[in-house]
């Protein structure tokens, strides 16, 4: 009998029955394997270590600059999950999705495990001794570099790492600490400084009855999203506060608003002055601004403003009425209002509304003065990078140290950072993982992950009093050949100034000494060791301090003639990049949890897309998934179309953060990088890059691909009216406020 006697159908039938039998047998304990696994025990564990039971340690989140206190759940010596630390007023015991993904920085399979040196064009793993020898040969005690010959490029950095970096540069008689932030809030900060006298006022969202926000995404990408989300929750409790959002492309905050207006990008200042003009008609506001401003504001009648901004004329008196009714209010300017040639003026005009409405001291306050100004963060800007780029281009820079910044990825094409970087003879990257910039360096030093290192952090946005946040390891280092940035800096300083640093065997000893020295400021009576232990246990040192007063400089607001936007026949669309709360400027694209979490507005995952208004798409006969070429004067990218009603019809938008080419397996090849199509537009006042001022043209390529998203049906809300909405123009004012109709 040969097997050919059984036909296929018989074979499958028999297979089906015996397969079922095998499956049933498998329901027993066939996977119990006595003696197959080791159950190693502890030799001498701490008393509180119980296998299977998690222990929480306090630390500080380093995913963004908010400085949230976190707690890490550690079990069997491994960090499993992060939570908020209730001792921290900034986080209030809560944590965001970006913070949750912090464990993936630590466990990332693309992490660097040994130092590497570039030899014949390729990286070669070397020992720490060799790496440090290479480093100290250039930057040790025998180094002849000084002044502008050496530069340190970082992202936002605070605490004692910043202090050590400063001392390191001082030892070269240099102050070249370049802080680069591709999404820098510098324009808004400059306007705050000019109008209110401080760079970053404290927003008391929960005290406001109405928030008028011009593109400020305080729930998603603001200076302290976790803290502000908690405040926002209180703001929405009875009596429910009203949120009005005005922006060209809907942000996460915009999606939460009661009223959302699509505005032509860059005309936010005109709209704000239109509201100011409308408010000044009321007797109680008539003397709120200097007479010449009041006079100039007369040009901002509602029809002119409506024509410039593209928002219905009635909306202006409508919003002014609501502002009048619901006091105190809070008026916020955001990146999409500030990233323009007149960005500073826009922000100043928006802030003027706060002065008219007398929100100072009610919903806007100054930050408490900081007892340790040397620890406060050096906030980043794009002008700093331009300066470094020039120095590199001129061949001034002989050695460059890079950490926490990736300008090869984020610098626009007209800042040829990558090619100028090649002119620097010695480039060192300090990183947990290779990125596009580290790939071009000569020496790469693998850092401990934030879950393995000690540190101190001070948030740039301190909601109340002052917090000094302590970071401590949540587990032993995964890779023996990694080291902390503080330890490396200390080693270099010991080479250069042995006397000053010989008392500190490591960075831990340094920050312990420094923090315990600050004991009198925190009015503690405990011993040094107890004070330090308490600081580690609580994860934060708090100092209550009264808020500072804000100044009022209404006269600094320039009120010119309302100018309509010029049309550009070659590039008819406004290009508004969107900043995702998770990927930010692309630094978190290596974390798969963030790649796979759907974008809150579109639900798209693992990709880039082009948002276009459905009406515009219909006119151009574009369907979802059509591959579009978005071309500006400087470059072009291609991505799938996504029809999105939350956008101004003459505007297209693309998310930033994707399009990596050298940032590990989870980031590379996902989407495209819109940083590379920005036009060279700068804010007139600050010289900062104007990120929202690019104009583009949309070309259909004829190709089509499916948009990978969680949304399901393409029609909004599954074809059901799950959340009732109406056009803002149709809303009746009388139903929203009472005072006006009396």
């Amino acid at each position: 009998m040969s097997s050919s006697n059984i036909d296929r159908r018989d074979f499958l039938r028999v297979l089906g029955i015996s397969g079922a039998a095998a499956t049933l047998a498998g329901c027993g304990n066939t996977s119990i394997e006595s003696g197959a696994e080791l159950v190693e025990s502890y030799v001498q564990p701490e008393d509180f270590v119980v296998p299977g039971v998690g222990v929480y340690y306090a630390s500080t989140c380093t995913q963004c600059g908010s400085g949230c206190g976190i707690m890490g759940r550690v079990r069997e010596g491994r960090i499993l999950k992060l939570e908020g630390n209730p001792q921290s007023l900034i986080s209030g015991g809560k944590i965001c999705g970006l913070g949750q993904a912090g464990v993936q920085v630590h466990y990332n399979p693309d992490r660097l495990t040994t130092p590497m040196i570039r030899e014949a064009g390729a990286f070669k793993p070397v020992s720490w001794d060799k790496a440090m020898a290479t480093l100290t040969a250039r930057l040790g005690s025998s180094s002849t570099l000084s002044g502008d010959q050496i530069a340190v490029l970082t992202g936002e950095i605070s605490g004692h790492q910043k202090v050590l970096l400063g001392h390191f540069l001082e030892s070269f008689k240099s102050a070249n600490h370049i802080v680069y932030d591709a999404l820098s809030p510098a324009i808004g900060q400059a306007a705050n400084k000019a109008v209110l006298g401080v760079e970053q006022p404290v927003l008391q969202i929960d005290k406001a009855r109405l928030i008028l926000s011009f593109g400020n995404d305080f729930l998603g990408t603001g200076p302290s999203p976790v803290h502000m989300a908690a405040q926002y929750a209180r703001f929405r409790k009875a009596p429910r506060g009203t949120l009005i959002q005005i922006e060209p492309r809907m942000t996460l905050t915009g999606a939460n608003a009661d009223r959302w207006y699509a505005i032509k990008p860059g005309t936010e200042g005109v709209f704000a002055l239109g509201i100011a003009h409308s408010l000044l008609q009321h007797q109680e506001y008539a003397h709120a601004v200097p007479a010449e401003i009041a006079e100039a504001l007369k040009q901002y009648d509602k029809d002119t403003v409506s024509e410039v901004t593209g928002i219905h004329a009635d909306a202006i008196s409508h919003i002014a009425g609501m502002l009048w009714e619901k006091s105190p209010s809070l008026v916020l300017s955001g990146p999409s209002a500030e990233g323009h040639v007149h960005g500073f003026n826009n922000a100043a005009a928006i802030l003027l509304l706060n002065l008219v409405l007398e929100n100072r001291g009610k919903t806007l306050q100054g930050q408490a003065s900081h007892p340790f100004p040397q620890l406060t963060p050096a906030s980043g800007s794009t002008t700093a990078l331009a300066k470094l780029n020039q120095a590199m281009s001129a061949g001034q820079c002989q050695a460059l140290l890079v950490m926490g910044a990736n300008p090869v990825f984020t610098a626009p094409t007209f800042v040829p950072f990558a090619s100028n970087l090649a002119k620097v003879p010695f480039k060192v990257a300090f990183a947990t993982q290779l990125d596009e910039t580290a790939h071009q360096c000569d020496l790469v030093l693998p850092l401990l992950s934030p879950m393995e290192d000690f540190g101190t952090h001070v948030a740039g946005y301190q909601p109340s009093g002052v917090e000094l946040a302590i970071q401590q390891p949540l587990m032993e280092r995964l890779y023996p050949e990694t080291r902390g940035l503080g330890d490396i800096l200390l080693d270099l300083l010991k080479q250069r100034q042995p006397e000053a640093y010989k008392a500190f065997p490591d960075y831990y000893a340094y920050i312990k000494t420094a923090v315990t020295k600050a004991k009198p400021v925190f009015k503690s009576k405990s011993s040094d060791d107890d004070f330090w232990e308490d600081a580690l246990r609580n994860g934060v040192l708090r100092l209550e301090a009264p808020p500072a007063a804000l100044e009022a400089h209404a006269a600094t607001v320039k009120v010119g003639k309302p100018q309509a936007l010029e049309t550009d026949v070659n590039f008819p669309f406004f290009f508004v990049p969107s900043v995702r709360a998770d990927l930010r400027d692309g630094r978190h694209a290596n974390l798969p949890w963030l790649q796979e979490s759907p974008d809150p507005l579109t639900t798209v995952v693992w990709d880039s897309w082009v948002e276009i208004h459905p009406t515009t798409a219909a006119q151009m006969q574009i369907r979802e998934g059509d591959i579009l070429e978005v071309q500006s004067a400087t470059g072009s990218v291609r991505a799938k179309a996504y029809l999105f009603p939350g956008i101004q019809p003459d505007t297209v938008s693309m998310p930033l953060g994707q399009g990596h080419t050298g940032y590990g397996r989870y980031a590379d090849g996902m989407g495209v990088n819109p940083f590379k199509i920005f036009d060279p537009m700068y804010d007139e006042r600050t010289g900062e890059l104007a990120l929202y001022a690019t104009r583009v043209i949309i070309k259909k390529t004829g190709e089509h691909a499916r948009v990978v998203k969680d949304e399901g049906a393409t029609n909004l809300q599954q074809g059901r009216k799950l959340v009732a909405t109406m056009a803002a123009d149709q809303a009746e004012l009388a139903k929203e406020i009472s005072r006006v109709t009396q």
Partner: protein, 204 residues
């Protein structure tokens, strides 16, 4: 010829099916002759350990409570293996057995500060979540039953063995058979209750 072949195959598979589909596989299936003391053909293999630890001396002759060494069992889902300094806490002071080969080995591990690579004897599939703490708290602390009996429900009479060997089936039907029994709620009452019957209690 073709028909006969087909019939044989179908009957063969049905036979296999009958043997396993009636419920608990190890009552009728399993290795023949490997019978556990409660009637399952599921006796575990003898597992050779790095040190032949004599449970019979410690728990049997000396009468040491199981939880003196297995201290995590009442506190955690896993009972864990005793920490090495636990062994040393006593054996540093017991001069009479210091020269025995097993104790010498123990001291070697201690001096190297290396954990002893014990092999796991009582294993469960990864999709089963068993909680030691719940069972110990219920039967030992609330019902006040003897510790050898309580641990023995799943581990057998380890106090009569040297190194442990699996003598219970630890299969789902075996677990359920105990969960279906009426157990006293505590030592002071005659009120009874059963173990949970929800899938998610163990499969989560």
């Amino acid at each position: 010829m073709k028909v006969r072949m087909k019939n044989i195959l179908v009957w063969l598979s049905l036979l296999v099916l009958c043997g396993t589909a009636t419920g608990e596989p190890f009552v009728q299936g399993g290795a023949i002759g490997s019978q556990t003391d409660d009637g399952y053909n599921a006796l575990g293999p003898v597992v050779e350990q790095p040190i032949e630890f004599p449970h019979n001396t410690h728990a049997g002759q000396m009468g040491i409570n199981c939880m003196y060494c297995h201290t995590y069992a009442r506190r955690s889902a896993v009972s864990g293996i005793p920490r090495l300094d636990k062994c040393m806490g006593c054996h540093k002071l017991i001069e009479s057995v210091k020269d025995k080969p097993r104790i010498k080995k123990l001291f070697e591990y201690w001096e190297k500060k290396e954990p002893i690579p014990w092999k796991k004897v009582h294993d469960l599939p990864d999709f089963v979540r068993f909680n030691h703490e719940r069972h110990i708290q219920r039967f030992y602390f609330r019902e006040d039953r003897p510790v050898r009996e309580v641990c023995g429900y799943c581990h057998g009479d380890v106090a009569s063995m040297t190194t442990a060997r699996r003598v219970k089936a630890l299969s789902m039907g075996w677990c359920v058979s105990c969960h279906q029994k009426d157990h006293l709620e505590n030592a002071a009452t005659t009120k009874t209750s059963n173990g949970p019957n929800d899938c998610w209690q163990c499969h989560k």
